[in-house]
């Protein structure tokens, strides 16, 4: 099977081209560096099978970073190269193009974002460029699919350039300048509305208030829409239809006994409580589908919107000064926001930080103080019943912890904290279908990951109670929990479950009949004490065992400190 490498600078639309050619969904976003790992897919063109590789975006092949090394080796292994170039920034894209052509691999160039280049008044003479580069060039608009067919049919007849030879760095830049002079005309145009919005959202005087509004709006709409879905869709569905039905079904073959209790808990037709029964088929399904999913859907939709419009890099610029005080820089906002969805992709995204020090700080802060959406959903759902005040206390506490530990880690961790260097891409109108597809991909990812784990969690809880192991554990940990944090001894089950999944852990708190103070403390320490297993595994891979040990030590210290402090403060006021 022939191997095709899809190469190009970051954020030029490689992933969209890849999806178009293979039908495989890969995450694309309007933020440089979204593709860190490479993705493989198969495609069939004119009866011939090809393996297609979405190579991480790089500006050059000089191996100065990991991504460039990967790109270099992918080029060596390729039989054919598709070089995706950004027509709106041809000059800087040509450098990589010349490097690729110099390697003497059969290549075709996809001149992507062709629609956008017309829009901003860039004219490129494709015929002349083809002659100068000595390979086929296909203008494309990957988002709408324009030009993709031609691209596919030209693949089979990709040529090795006869006009471009290997050359030195300086020669290459000179060549780029020469080619641009011959093929590109930029029409001067007045500021478009998009550019004006771009300026307003990055200037501090207007940008900072706008950023605050955007974040507040996001928060409010997630809670609002999430609650609306629960109230009008999920709860009626579960309580009026699914509940009575499943109780009938289970009663028909297991009217009582162990199996009955594990499947649906103590639920009867009259006292149906999906949050407290702790059956596999009641709480085990209600938590992921009815309590968490509505918020997860809204969160990922909003996040995709922020990503695809190109707002995130602007947010990164605006928060850069603040994050610098914590030893990070603006780009750290990306793993943080992703972490609010799920800590796992958040942990992976810490790779955008350049140095070990920054990656460690970003990952540790996220693991300690950023609750994932599943956890947040349960906090809204359970603590929210006691009043908004308590929910706010949880988030304000976590924010304070985030800042304090950041200040501390900046001092303690050795290494460098380089400054921000980031391209701020133009705003793009998000494509509705891409947006929905992306939201669905992430929501599906959540379900595939969450449902089995939640079910497992519910099962383990049942086994703990049935076997009586719970009494042993309670007896051992009770002194710590009660004296330090003022929590009832039953809370230990929640802390154990928190290793598995945080949402189910918070669910366990409900039947314990805690005071609002105790619930608040529990929610905070469930967030800080340890990340869930999935996140933990990813963090070990990203940071290494030693660093993760240090981070874990920090988590324990922080949890004890915060738990004790909250216990003192909340019981005074």
């Amino acid at each position: 099977m022939k191997r095709i490498s899809l190469m190009g600078c970051p954020n030029v639309g490689k992933s969209v081209v890849f999806s178009r050619l293979t039908g495989v969904n890969v995450i694309s976003s309007n933020y440089p560096g979204t593709t860190v790992d490479f993705t493989k897919g198969n495609t069939c063109i004119r009866g011939e099978k090809f393996e297609l590789i979405d190579v991480p975006g790089t500006y050059s092949l000089e191996p100065t970073s990991k991504a460039e090394e990967v790109a270099q080796s992918m080029l060596q292994e390729a039989d054919v190269v598709i070089n995706v170039a950004d027509a709106t920034h041809l000059e800087r894209n040509l450098y990589l193009t010349l490097e690729i052509l110099g390697s003497k691999k059969p290549t075709i160039v996809a001149l992507n974002l062709w629609d956008e280049s017309k829009h901003i008044g860039v004219d490129i003479d494709v015929a002349k460029l083809e002659k100068l580069l000595g390979v086929t060039i296909v203008p494309t608009c990957a988002i709408s699919g324009e030009g993709i067919k031609e691209l596919a049919s030209e693949l089979c007849v990709a040529r090795v350039s006869k006009t471009i030879e290997p050359m030195s760095e300086d020669e290459r830049w000179a060549k780029v300048g020469e080619i641009i002079g011959k093929v590109q005309v930029v029409h001067h145009r007045h500021h478009t509305i998009r550019e004006r919005i771009a300026d307003i959202t990055v200037k501090p005087i207007t940008g900072i208030p706008i950023a605050i509004i955007v974040i507040l709006l996001m928060f409010i709409s997630i809670i609002g829409i999430g609650n609306w879905i629960i109230e009008h869709l999920m709860d009626p569905l579960f309580y009026n239809y699914y509940g009575p039905w499943i109780i009938d079904v289970v009663n028909s073959f297991a009217p009582e006994g162990l199996l009955h209790d594990i499947l649906i808990g103590q639920s009867t037709g009259e006292s149906l409580d999906f949050t407290q029964s702790f059956g596999l088929l009641t709480t085990g399904l209600y938590v992921p589908f009815a309590m968490v999913l509505p918020f997860v859907i809204t969160f990922y939709f909003m996040l995709s919107l922020l990503e695809d419009t190109g707002y995130l890099p602007r947010l990164a610029v605006l928060v850069d000064t603040g994050l610098h005080k914590l030893g990070l820089h603006g780009s750290a906002i990306v793993p943080t926001i992703l972490g609010f969805g799920c800590n796992v992709p958040g942990a992976l995204a810490t790779r955008v930080m350049e140095t070990k020090k920054q990656q460690f700080i970003a990952a540790t802060l996220m693991a300690i103080a950023v609750p994932c959406m599943a956890q947040s959903a349960m906090i809204f759902g359970i603590l929210g019943r006691e009043g908004l005040k308590w929910v706010l206390i949880v988030y304000v506490t976590l924010f304070v912890v985030y800042v304090l530990i950041g200040l501390l880690l900046k001092k303690l961790v050795k290494g460098e904290s380089p400054e921000l260097l980031l391209e701020v891409p133009p705003y793009r109108k998000p494509d509705c279908r891409t947006l929905l597809k992306k939201t669905w991909t992430k929501v599906y990812g959540f379900l595939a990951e969450a449902v089995p784990f939640v079910l497992l969690g519910v099962l383990v809880v049942n086994l703990l109670y049935i076997s009586g192991l719970i009494d042993v554990l309670s007896a051992v940990f009770a002194p710590i929990l009660t004296t330090l944090f003022g929590l009832p001894e039953g809370a230990i089950v929640a802390l154990i479950m928190g290793f598995l999944r945080k949402d189910i852990a918070i669910g366990i708190l409900l039947p314990l009949g805690m005071t609002p103070q105790q619930l608040t403390i529990s929610c905070v320490i469930l967030c800080t004490y340890f990340p869930c297993v999935a996140t933990f595994v990813v963090l070990i891979r990203e940071l290494g065992v030693m660093a993760m040990l240090k981070a874990t030590g920090l988590m324990i210290v922080v949890t004890v400190a915060v738990g004790v402090a909250l216990n003192l403060i909340l019981n005074v006021i």
């Binding site: 500006y59 000089e62 800087r92 771009a198 501090p204 940008g207 610029v317 850069d320 000064t321 701020v424």
Partner: protein
């Protein structure tokens, strides 16, 4: 025109105010960083404009021929320009 420009003082990029335009004269920094700059469109001879300056010694946002680049203040100080 080019003669006139040659007389202009060469100053750090950070002395440029929002709205002013200047020509990039030297990129400073090592070879790797310079290549990174160039591939972002930041290279000698290009006209640069400041879009926004973040307070408290935060980053500056540049516009180089339509590409916006956010760059830390310390890094920006080592890039040299001639005002026009």
């Amino acid at each position: 025109m080019s003669d006139m420009n040659q007389d202009r003082e060469v100053v750090p990029l950070t002395t440029l105010f929002p709205g002013e335009r200047a020509k990039i004269v030297a990129l400073g920094h090592g070879a790797g960083r310079q290549r990174h700059f160039r591939t972002m469109g930041l290279m000698e001879g290009k006209i640069v404009e400041i879009v926004a300056t973040q307070p408290a010694r935060g980053p500056v946002v540049l516009n180089v021929e339509g590409t916006q680049i956010a760059i830390g203040r310390g890094m920006a100080r080592r890039i040299l320009i001639q005002k026009i």
